[in-house]
């Protein structure tokens, strides 16, 4: 396809990769791309990241070029303009409109309307209008530069763009699914849409040269859907710099939770029960529960009447380094599981950050011996409490400063933590990339 564009990037590297997908943490997306950017130079890779709107200018990285395309906004941009005025900060459009308690009628109606809108208009995702610009920009990049491999990430539209680029230019393509598509554990649409998404997924990803995902279980699910397409597992990881953070503990006993809180994470309710069991109903807690980058509205909607929330602290999104320091000063880090079967093969990416800062992890909810439980046991990272009742006594121990799981940690366990660093993850991923890119040349 001829283009009169001129975007000559002077790519230097043994392998030249075009990553199509949002560049986290500068745009909403998968975290994996940050690790790829951090280690591109070390692997002699020229990495071009083609992303939609960035919230801030990205930090420079060796051998990384960032191409930000035009993008008018997702399918909710009109609603944001309409409802934007008067909404509370930090709640997100849906959370703010739901307001009140989770069980309220208003909350249920708004939730239903959002789900209906999403089912019909988020096709394939909320950022669908990005496809046109992403495809044209990718064509401009490929028209002016030699590219050995295309990788697609978040959002789903990125995979559509990559598939088209592969068809037009014959460049090998790897689809990186950090969340599955039709088999997503957090599938947000009405159930009748799932078979349609499944069909689209089979047709589209069936043309990929390789698919990556983030757990063995998810890889098996995907492999069943896409026979003939190699599927590999590369777990999430944590930024290597977390291993070097040394921060004194906060003066007040602090338990921190990082990131989004999803509906199906009923481990949160178990945690609240545990607090009430340990310290009594509506008493002032002898510790601080801190939410970093979590929607306050979402948390407050789910609070039971047993908990006095004045001891909850909410911290808005912040630079990674500040969030890391807050994690590192916490006495323990909270992980909320889910009893839903669809969550059984999932590692939330935050658990790896928790491993990296080497603070004790309190995993609440989920199932006995599930993925999270096994990971925590393998690395000696903390404890798993399926219910609030089992958690209560340990919360009391923490407040007495009696619980020090670190003393039981073996050298092997501590070493296993390193295997989940971004550096280790990037090595695994880049070797897959080079193999697929090399197969094209062969």
């Amino acid at each position: 396809m001829k283009s009169d564009s001129q975007l000559s990037l002077n790519l230097e590297g043994k392998t030249r990769i075009l990553f199509i997908g949002n560049y986290w943490p500068y745009a909403r997306g998968g975290h994996r791309v940050a690790a790829l950017a951090d280690f591109a130079g070390a692997h002699d890779v020229a990495l071009v990241i083609l992303t939609s709107t960035l919230n801030e200018s990205p930090a420079p990285r060796e051998r990384v070029w960032v191409v930000e395309t035009l993008f008018k906004g997702d399918v909710y941009r009109f609603a944001r303009r309409l409802f934007g005025r008067g909404l509370k900060v930090g709640g997100g459009l849906k959370g703010n409109l739901q307001g009140g308690q989770k069980s309220s009628l208003r909350s249920k109606i708004v939730g239903f309307l959002f789900k209906a809108f999403a089912t019909f208009f988020e096709v394939p995702d909320a950022e669908r209008s990005w496809r046109r610009h992403a495809h044209a920009a990718a064509a401009e990049v490929i028209g002016s530069n030699e590219i050995d491999l295309v990788v697609s990430g978040y959002p789903l539209s990125a995979h559509f763009v990559a598939a088209k680029i592969k068809k037009e230019y014959g460049v090998p393509w790897i689809a990186d699914l950090t969340d599955l598509w039709s088999e997503n554990h957090n599938y947000p649409y009405f159930g009748w849409r799932r078979p349609l998404d499944r069909l689209a997924e089979i047709n589209l990803l069936g043309a990929a040269d390789h698919v990556l995902t983030v757990s063995e279980q998810l890889a098996e699910t995907e492999a069943r859907l896409l026979p003939g397409v190699p599927v590999s597992t590369v777990l999430h990881g944590f930024p290597d710099e977390l291993l070097h953070i040394e921060t004194p503990l906060a003066s007040e006993i602090t338990l921190s939770y990082v990131g989004a809180l999803y509906e199906k994470q009923d481990g949160f309710e178990a945690f609240l029960d545990g607090l009430a069991e340990a310290f009594g109903d509506n008493t002032v807690l002898p510790l601080r529960v801190r939410f970093i980058g979590t929607s306050r509205v979402e948390v407050e909607r789910r609070l039971s009447t047993r908990i006095n929330t004045s001891d909850f602290e909410f911290v808005d999104r912040m630079p990674r380094s500040t969030a890391a320091a807050m994690m590192a000063e916490s006495h323990a880090l909270l992980l909320f599981g889910s009893s839903a079967d669809s969550w059984s093969g999932v590692y939330p990416s935050k658990v790896f950050d928790y491993l990296g800062v080497r603070r004790p992890v309190i995993y609440v909810g989920g199932h006995e011996d599930d993925l999270m439980s096994r990971l925590i046991a393998k690395t000696g990272a903390g404890g798993h409490f399926v219910s609030g009742a089992t958690l209560a006594s340990h919360l009391i121990d923490i407040c007495r400063d009696d619980w020090d799981h670190q003393s039981g940690r073996t050298a092997e366990q501590l070493e296993s933590v390193r295997s989940y660093s971004h550096g280790a993850m990037a090595s695994r991923i880049y070797s897959i990339f080079e193999q697929v890119a090399g197969e094209r040349g062969a």
Binding site: D4, Q6, L9, R63, W65, V66, A136, E140
Partner: protein
């Protein structure tokens, strides 16, 4: 200004880092690179439309960030086919509006460097920065809109002035509102200050148009003779050049010094132009458009360069970048220009000035250089001495330092809180 500050460089109509080949760095690229080298975060705001090539660099990319940390923002506009025409006027008006919209939502910089022309972009962006309390320099590279009026036949100039009055208004407003002005020479800066109705201050600065020396390598354009006379141009047919006397000079060389070749760079002219200006053209070679590496290789092999510019106020107040480029490679210059160029040539004895109104003047000057080796050696020595004055790194380092000083003095803390 401390290191690692944010600087906006607003320059349109110039090459950018992502252009094909090895783009010939002009003001925008040079100051951006100097600031990045000094540890600052730079956003180079430019057009998606490539003025030189008359095509769009991109239609779907908003910004590109290079591994060095330099960010390049492409502002879209309709584009135009001709340098002079309604299309260009419309393009600049649209560009100005979109440039303002594009930068409106960004975190304000600590200091900015804005190119002028075009007038409209300089005006809209400078107004926005003034409101934000951000100090900025306006870099005056041409005498717009005055030169448009000067180019008109005398009897139409008054009407021209009336029609162009809005441009005069906004141009003066932009220059008046700047923290400081910069220009390529003292007399050009004087013109800008007078036009903008402001007195010279310590915020103003002179910075010639130097270019980095492209590292030596195997010549990419082989010289065909032992002595070449190079005429650096983008488009030799443009009104910027006065080719009077060229035909006579070509004939002279053809008859008396057949080993001397005239090499003309840039867009190859039409056959009728070649015939009218260069005559039979046996000793003239046209290279087409060249990138930095090719130009460098030609200059390294050049005997001397020709700079036959139109004698007008703008050129005579300035030091055209092609003259500076020639001297940077230690190559003597033969030019028509009086003013700043003649002063430089006389000061360093690095070339000769000829009279374009006399048909044989160019021939006489060339004869002097070609026939008298003593004269040539003297001019060569002078050109090499002049090259030390135009050290690119030092020149742009000084300009960057000047911007840093501006940032220190400016009260822009509120823009970042």
């Amino acid at each position: 200004m401390e290191r690692d500050r944010t600087v906006w460089v607003v320059q349109t109509g110039e090459p950018v880092h992502t252009d094909h080949g090895v783009p010939r760095a002009m003001r925008g690229m040079s100051i951006s690179d100097a600031l990045v080298r000094r540890g600052h975060t730079v956003l180079f705001i430019t057009t998606a439309f490539d003025h030189a090539g008359k095509h769009h660099r991109t239609r779907h990319v908003r910004r590109v960030f290079l591994p060095s940390g330099l960010g390049i923002m492409f502002v879209g506009s309709p584009g135009y086919k001709r340098n002079i025409g309604l299309g260009r006027l419309i393009d600049h008006a649209v560009l100005a509006r979109r440039a303002r919209k594009a930068v409106c939502g960004l975190v304000p910089p600590h200091v900015a460097f804005i190119g002028y022309p075009p007038i409209e972009v300089a005006w809209t962006v400078s107004r926005l920065l003034s409101r934000m309390g951000v100090p900025f320099i306006i870099d005056v590279k041409d005498q717009w809109p005055t030169i448009f009026v000067d180019a008109m036949p005398r009897r139409f100039r008054r009407i021209g002035q009336v029609f162009l009055h809005p441009y005069f208004l906004v141009a003066r407003q932009a220059l008046r509102g700047a923290t400081g002005l910069s220009a390529m020479s003292d007399s050009f800066l004087d013109w800008a200050l007078t036009f903008g109705g402001r007195a010279r201050s310590s915020s103003d600065v002179v910075a010639p148009f130097t270019r980095s020396i492209t590292p030596g390598s195997t010549p990419t354009v082989e010289p065909r003779s032992s002595r070449s006379v190079v005429l650096l141009a983008t488009n030799i047919e443009s009104a910027s050049y006065d080719m009077s006397g060229m035909r006579e000079a070509c004939e002279y060389l053809s008859n008396t010094a057949p080993d001397v070749e005239i090499v003309v760079t840039g867009k190859t002219p039409s056959d009728s132009f070649i015939d009218r200006v260069f005559g039979s053209g046996n000793n003239v070679r046209f290279t087409g458009m060249l990138d930095s590496v090719a130009v460098a290789s030609i200059l390294r092999e050049a005997h001397f360069t020709l700079a036959p510019y139109e004698r007008n106020d703008a050129f005579e107040r300035s030091l055209p970048n092609k003259i500076i480029e020639s001297l940077m490679y230690g190559v003597p210059v033969v030019s028509t220009l009086r003013g700043e160029t003649e002063e430089l040539i006389v000061k360093y004895d690095c070339g000769l000035v000829y009279e374009p109104t006399e048909k044989t003047s160019l021939t006489s000057v060339i004869e002097e250089i070609v026939a008298d080796t003593g004269c040539y050696k003297r001019l060569r020595k002078g050109a090499e001495a002049a090259s030390l004055v135009f050290d690119h790194e030092e020149n742009y380092g000084r300009l960057a330092e000047h911007l840093e000083g501006l940032g220190r003095r400016g009260d822009f803390s509120s823009a970042h809180e």
